[in-house]
Structures are given as C-alpha cells and as structure tokens.
C-alpha cells in the first residue's frame, strides 16, 4: 500500500497544474491538430462510408458511429500524452526527477500524469461532442454525460500508458504497444461497428477491454437506449480503471525511486 494510490496526497495536483500551464501556453498547437482526426472520421464514416450503409441497429450509421469517434479521439489523446509525452518528460527532460527532489512523491507524479492524460481526453471529447451536436448528429440530452465516460475511458488508457512508460528503456517500445494494443482496441471495441459481428471468442476478448464498456455506455446515452446492463458495464470498467491506476502509480514509483 505504501507506494500506491493510497500514498498519494493532494500535492499531486501541483504536477497536473504544471502540465496544464504548459498546455495553455501552447494551446494552438494542442487544439487544432487534435480535432483533425475526429473531423476526418465524421467525414469518412458519415458522408463517405455512411452513405452506403442504410442503418446499423436501427439508426443511421453516422449516429451509431458517433460514440466510437468520440471514444477513439479521447483514448488517443490520453495515450499519446502518457506514452510519448510522459516518456519525454521522464527520460529526456528529466522533469520528473526535478519534481521528486521536492516534497512531491513519485506516486504523485504518476497519478498526476494519468489525470492529465485523462483531462486531455476529456477536453477533446467536449470539443468533438460540441461538433457532433452542432452538426445535428447527436440530439439526445443524455449525451451531455458522454464526456464523463470519455474522461474515464481516457483515464483508463492513460493508466495503461503509464504502466508501459514506466517500464520501458527506450521510446521505440511504444510501437509494440500501439500496434499490439492501442490500435486493435481503437477499432475492435465496438467503436465503428457492433462487436456482435465477431465470432464469440473475439467478442469475449473485446468485452474484457474496458473501453468496449465505455463506448457502449456512451453510445447508449447518445441514442437514448438506457438499460440495466450498462450498470454492470460501468462497474466493471471503473474497477479495472482503478486497478490499472494502482498498478501504474506503483510502477512509476519503482521507476523513479530506485
């Protein structure tokens, strides 16, 4: 318990603030490129591919895929921030070493990085959701809760990313992580088409990844299809997210304090 989440004090928020300060200073570099991918997805899947598909699960394709676009934009932001971004701060700039030479603990740096990655995913989901609302793709009021679940999905991926970042010696290993996990998760977790299309073992595998639950919950909110099953999904997704965060925080401690 000593170096895990329970050891973290509110001081961790100071590290989050440092990241936010840098983000704001470089705002234009951060916001515009982050919107390109989701806008491209809306164009490709909505107007392009969507025009060949009449309906999926009883709704126009673009309405179905909106949750997937939102989800993949969020997790990608969090993942990039907590892989390349965190690694750069940790190994190249030695910023973390500077932080832990003060009363800030290594676990606090770890949690702050995760929360920061999640925050970036959240900001992004708010922007993308606004675009989806403006375009009339999303029109149920429950959709305003979507960013909350996008925040949690991003938190989940940020924690996974910190688990990887705190364990690798060089950045090149991220390529394995992206190819082996992030990209498959981005496409196979019910983001762009229902996973019921898959053979059962693959479906099972998809449900193991908590992202599937987060996307499903978000989609249900956007399409106004609430059911009790979503509660179970939420419990599972939250529990795994917490578990990943605990592992990531310990792992960061082990990396920084040798």
């Amino acid at each position: 318990m000593r170096n895990g989440l329970l050891s973290v004090t509110p001081a961790f928020f100071k590290v989050w603030l440092r990241n936010a300060q840098v983000y704001v200073a470089l705002l234009k570099f951060n916001i515009i490129p982050a919107l390109v991918e989701p806008m491209l997805f809306i164009l490709v899947f909505g107007l392009g591919l969507g025009s060949y598909i009449s309906e999926i699960e009883g709704v126009p394709y673009i309405k179905f895929v909106a949750a997937g676009i939102l989800g993949s934009a969020s997790i990608m932001q969090a993942t990039f921030e907590c892989t390349y971004g965190s690694f750069f701060r940790m190994k190249i700039q030695n910023t973390f070493e500077g932080m832990i030479s003060t009363p800030i603990s290594a676990g606090e740096v770890g949690l702050a990085e995760i929360l920061w990655g999640a925050s970036r995913g959240f900001f992004n989901s708010v922007l993308v959701l606004s675009a989806l609302l403006l375009l009339g793709i999303v029109n149920h009021w429950q959709a305003v809760f979507a960013p909350l679940f996008m925040f949690l999905a991003a938190f989940n991926f940020a924690a996974l990313a910190i688990m990887v970042t705190s364990r690798i010696a060089q950045m090149e290993y991220f390529r394995f992580y992206f190819a082996g996990f992030v990209l498959p998760a981005q496409f196979l977790c019910g983001t762009f088409f229902p996973i019921s299309r898959f053979p059962e073992p693959v479906q099972l595998f998809a449900w193991v990844i908590p992202f599937t639950s987060y996307v499903d919950i978000t989609r249900s909110l956007m399409l106004d299809r609430l059911s009790w099953r979503l509660g179970l999904e939420a419990i599972y997704a939250l529990a795994t997210t917490l578990l990943f965060a605990e592992i990531a925080v310990r792992s960061m401690h082990k990396r920084l304090v040798t």
């Binding site: 440092r18 070493e97 500077g98 030479s101």
Partner: protein, 301 residues
Amino acid sequence: MVIQAKALHKRYGGVVAVESLNFSVEKGRCYGLVGPNGAGKTTTMKMVYCIVLPTSGSLHVFGMDVLREPRRIKARLGVVPQENNLDPDLTTWQNLMVYARYFGLPRQLARERCREQLDFMHLSERAGTPVPDLSGGMKRRLIMSRALVNDPELIILDEPTTGLDPQVRHLIWDKLLELKDRGITLLMTTHYMDEAQKLCDEIIIMDQARRIDEGSPAELIRRHLPPYVLEVRASRGLAADILARFPGFSHQESGQSLYFYAGAAADFDGILSAWPRAEHVLRPASLEDVFLKLTGREIRA
C-alpha cells in the same frame, strides 16, 4: 548532525554502488565528496535526497530516516543535480514559481522568494526568457536559484560548476561561501580539487564505492604527502636516468611526468642541478596530488 550515514550500502542488481559508507555532516559546514567517476558520489547524494533507496545500513537526514520521512526531509533541502533538469517548457520565472508550488509556498511568499533568488544569482533580467534560450552558465545559475526557493537548511550540489566559464564559477563560489556564512550546510561533489580546497571544510575521498579517507584539505595533504612537489616533464629515457641517479627519492610516474615529493624545496636541488634544462614546476603539494596518489594517476579501463 545534519546527515548521519552508518554502514550505508547500495546495490543495483549485482553492482555495488556504495559500500559500508560511514560519514556525518555537521550543521553550517561545507562537505565535499570527491572521487573518480563511478566512485559512488552521486548515488550517495541521491540517497540523501531520497530518490535512491539504501539497500542496507542507515541514513538519517535532520535526524529523520530517509526510508520513512522522505517528504519531510525533502521539504528542508535544496538540490542542484548534475544534469540539468530545468523545465524547458517554461520560462525562468515560471520554473521558479512552479518549483515553489511543489514546496507548497503560499503565492505571495513564493513571488518574494523567486524575486530574491533571481536577484541573488543575477538573473532578474532573464525572468521572462524561456529556458532553452538561456546560456549554460545561466541555466546553472537558475538551478541554483531554484534550489534556494524553499529556504533550505541543507543544499546538495552535484558538480555545480562543471563546464562553466571562470566568471560563473567564481560567482557560484562566492554565493556558496555566502550561503555557508548564513549557516546553511552544504554537501557537494566536484572533480576540481581547487574548488574542493577553496570551498570545503571537510573532504570525503571515495573510490570504488568506498570511503578511503576524510579530513580537511590541509589535513589530507599533511597526512599523505610531504609539503613540496617537483613535477618534471620527462620522456621514458630521461625518467629512467633520473631515477637511476636518485634511487630512493619519494616519487610517482605518470605518462610524461615524474612527481618527486620532499619536506623542503631545497631537497630538489640535486635533481635540478643535474638536469638544469629539464622542464619542471616546483610547488607546494596540493589536494590534487593527494587525490591522484590515493586513487591512482592512471585511467582505468
């Protein structure tokens, strides 16, 4: 005692970085850790500021165990690391303010301290400069300012002047002496023996993970060497000739140089009159001679 280390060990896998180290640091004095690269100096310092955990033995800073109270220890010390770890995404001023926040200083106090420390290190005009635009010497001075924002009782400096021009080195020396006069304890490493001799009250010589001696610069010189050194530049042939003619003269050979040691300058007259044209320097023994005597003059593979 500000620092007390007893039988301190640090092992990384099979590699022993620090072995059976005993030392203590008294308040208000400057301690120097000197030794060849890889001797364990940086590891020792990192254990003091709680980012490296001892494998065994005990280490207390301000009377607190580094394993139990790292947060409270770190709150009271300032660190000048060997490698620049300033935040390149921020300006000079922001670097200090962000750091002050890590120490939990209230905003108003933080502002005052940062202004004071920038002024102390002659950086006030650079407050708005992004870190990547600072020169090497300015970065070093900024790291010094940063180490002072929390008004530390102990400052740990890992090679504070490596790679700096003489002006900045002298400025840093002045400032360190000023801090010592204020009663702040200093623990530093350096590869410059002139720096160690000038700043340190007490020197701990380390080699191959162990402490091999400790004392004030003057004591160390007295303990290990006669007061005078004659350094003669000599090819292998000339060296053999001199040594054949003056057997038994206390000496050391290294590369193209011969070092003779004696209790009085006049003792070298024989050598100098026999080879009047040999290139030579006659000087008092220095800390550098002691260092090289104890750790060897040769480069290790």
